[in-house]
């Protein structure tokens, strides 16, 4: 994956809770066997509504998506992360992400930024008031800043995930370095565990 240090730009405020991955990318799109071309599927059912926030011109060119509580619930489809990224977003902000969605973000270099309910609300209102508001997410310092509205806060990311973002590391390559440990573990497995001939 590509290294990410700073995400800087404007944001789209998606002021809804429980945005599930079926909304992010409807299942029709999951039939594809490729890893690219999902940007058109992003929120495709909601985008038919002319007033939907992604269709509002003032937010065009934004590279940060601000969602509500419980963002990315439901299906494990990584296509949701691919669609968000391929549409042009580099980071998603929410007070709480669903586990699988968050994991999928970290495997693809889409920065999941967890902030408090209050900060999330403040950011959404600030962006609605001024769509050109510049927001900076710093993966090294783990900060979110919007100086124009005096907002500065931190967000959590484990050291291991932070390092992967900063260095753009390949998870599988890292694990394969531990092949001897895996070999050793396999000698201790219970003999009755199922295995195919």
């Amino acid at each position: 994956m590509k290294a990410v240090r700073i995400v800087q730009g404007t944001a789209v405020p998606l002021d809804r809770t429980d945005v599930d991955t079926d909304q992010i990318i409807p299942s029709d799109w999951l039939k594809r066997v490729e890893r690219t071309g999902f940007e058109k599927g992003l929120f495709s059912e909601w985008r038919d509504d002319r007033d939907f926030v992604l269709n509002q011109e003032q937010y065009s060119g934004a590279n940060i998506l601000i969602g509500g509580l419980n963002f990315g619930t439901g299906s494990s489809r990584e296509h949701a992360v691919w669609a968000i990224q391929q549409y042009g977003f580099d980071a998603v902000i929410s007070p709480r992400f669903a586990d699988i969605f968050r994991n999928n973000c970290t495997k693809n270099g889409l920065v999941p930024v967890t902030v408090s309910d209050e900060v999330n609300e403040q950011l959404i209102r600030a962006v609605e008031a001024d769509p050109t508001l510049e927001i900076t997410i710093d993966v090294e310092r783990l900060t979110v800043e919007a100086p124009a509205v005096g907002l500065e806060t931190t967000f959590p990311l484990s050291e291991a995930i932070q390092e992967r973002f900063l260095k753009g590391l390949d998870d599988i390559g890292l694990t394969l370095r531990l092949a001897t440990d895996i070999d050793e573990y396999e000698t201790t497995r219970k003999p009755w565990m199922p295995a195919q001939a």
Binding site: R35, S76, R77, I100, I172, I182, R189
Partner: protein
């Protein structure tokens, strides 16, 4: 004496290849990797691009389910994109030497029906699949969770996953269930209590006499929907019910090995004095047969209730979500649930397509007729479930009552195959998600048990079996 541990902590500890040090995740060994056509093609491409083999094809089993039509399975799949995705799985499993059950094979079926049926799911294991309903397998006392495609590739290449240790949550339901309350009602009620995000970051252990008294299939229905409460996984301590179910299946241990396994499995239960990060206690008597009214699985009501309004919620987030849901579902607050007409009934999915579900539905359907104009689908979860149902004469009961008896697959759970809702159609469904458009663009889904679904098909509006003449 070592610290008392919970069931999930014990299984986790057993699977540590290397513990995470200094904030790094643990490296967890994966005993079983189930794959299907939707979330695996890009993972196999990744392996090929990097010249990496599958480390343990012998611990990997594939089935096709999401795209498979539930009619005419002996003919080629008409939808070209679906056909390509399925063909891709066949080519990939062939190339990498992975056992695969294609459409039409008696072992083919929904991945979470097939695994337990084949004895692949056993207590004390770690099981993953690129599918969020993988927690189903937790019914056996396993840690089972859904993963994304990058993680599918990781497991294929290494048979391990780097994972932060989840928290623990106990959901205890004790007491006597009211008549007519099924495992589906229990889990819908639980999700209604904890909310869609209540379990995020945690593995839920379902405890108490209600789960102890449940059959394995009932426990699977419960664990299946753990993700709808946000949980990473859900599990239930293995007991005699579990051992009896596992014994005698194709991949299960036999003889002395089975005895040794059972002795070991008995040690997995949560130790006395172990502490959970969070505990939720529910009185079984408070649980009624449930119907979901909104667009997330926490928006549920007893079937005797009325559609709530935004004013019924103190939390502004819940009130806003309710307002949006009422709009999408085309409801007025205050409408009695039993007055709501439906035009489609779906009985199936990884939540409710096993033989006990079909028996429960057939018991209600027997000697009755579905309402005029009602579209119905009864979809067995696997080829073996279908065979068993046929041996018991269930298809005849369904057909005589006017239900459409189909071939196995995910069917109308998720709109990836020909079984879909049309815009504005309203469906009583035994599946697991009532998200907007989940069963087809513009479709409206109500989650219910097989008994309620069947009674509703006959009455034409939401109904319990007791409501039928």
């Amino acid at each position: 004496m070592s610290q008392p541990r919970t069931l999930s902590q014990k299984i986790w500890d057993r699977h540590l290849v290397t513990p995470g040090v200094g904030g790094a995740p643990d490296l967890l060994y994966i005993d079983l990797h189930l794959i299907h056509e939707v979330t695996s093609p890009q993972a196999f491409d990744g392996l090929r691009m990097n010249g990496r083999p599958v480390r343990r094809p012998d611990l990997t089993v594939a089935t096709e389910d999401h795209n498979t039509p539930t009619e005419d399975q002996d003919k080629p799949i008409a939808d070209e994109i679906s056909a390509t995705q399925i063909e891709t799985l066949r080519v990939n499993t062939q190339e990498f030497g992975i056992v695969h059950y294609p459409m039409g094979h008696e072992n083919n079926g929904i991945v979470h029906v097939m695994g337990p049926e084949q004895g692949l799911t056993q207590p004390g294991m770690t099981i993953v699949c690129g599918d969020s309903h993988t927690a189903t397998h937790g019914a056996f006392g396993s840690i089972a969770f859904g993963i994304g495609t990058s993680e599918v590739e990781h497991v294929l290449a290494t048979q391990t996953l780097p994972q932060a240790r989840p928290g623990t949550m106990a959901i205890t339901v004790n007491g006597e269930l009211q008549a007519g309350v099924t495992p589906k009602d229990v889990i819908l009620h639980v999700i209604g209590v904890i909310g869609t995000g209540g379990g995020i970051g945690k593995i839920v252990e379902y405890r108490g006499n209600v789960f102890e008294n449940m059959s394995m299939e009932g426990r699977m229905t419960v664990c299946n929907m753990s993700i709808e409460g946000g949980a990473k996984a859900g599990l239930i301590a293995p007991d005699e019910t579990t051992f009896e179910y596992v014994a005698g299946r194709p991949n299960s241990p036999v003889g002395a090995e089975l005895e040794a396994a059972i002795e070991d499995w008995k040690t997995l239960a949560t130790d006395e004095g172990a502490v959970f990060d969070e505990e939720v206690i529910i009185d079984a008597a408070d649980i009624a047969p449930q119907v979901s009214w909104g667009t997330n699985p926490a928006q549920v009501m007893p079937i005797d209730g009325v559609i709530p309004g935004p004013d019924d919620f103190d939390d502004p987030n819940l009130a806003n979500t309710a307002a949006r849901a009422l709009d999408y579902m085309d409801f007025e607050a205050g409408t009695p649930i039993k007055d709501i007409k439906v035009d489609t009934v779906f009985i199936g999915s990884c939540t409710n397509s096993r033989i006990e579900d079909l028996r429960a539905a057939a018991a209600v359907a027997k000697g009755r007729k579905v309402a005029d104009g009602m579209r119905t689908l009864v979809v067995p979860g696997s080829g073996l479930v279908k065979q068993q149902a046929e041996a018991e004469g269930l298809p005849e009961i369904f057909r005589e009552a006017g239900f459409d008896w189909r071939e196995p697959g995910c069917s109308m759970c998720l709109a990836m195959n020909p079984d879909k809702l049309q815009p504005g159609e309203r469906c009583a469904s035994t599946s697991n998600r009532n998200f907007e458009g989940r069963q087809g663009r513009g479709g409206r889904t109500h989650l219910v048990s097989p008994a309620i679904a069947t009674a509703t098909a006959i009455a034409g509006h939401f109904a319990s079996p007791e409501d039928l003449a």
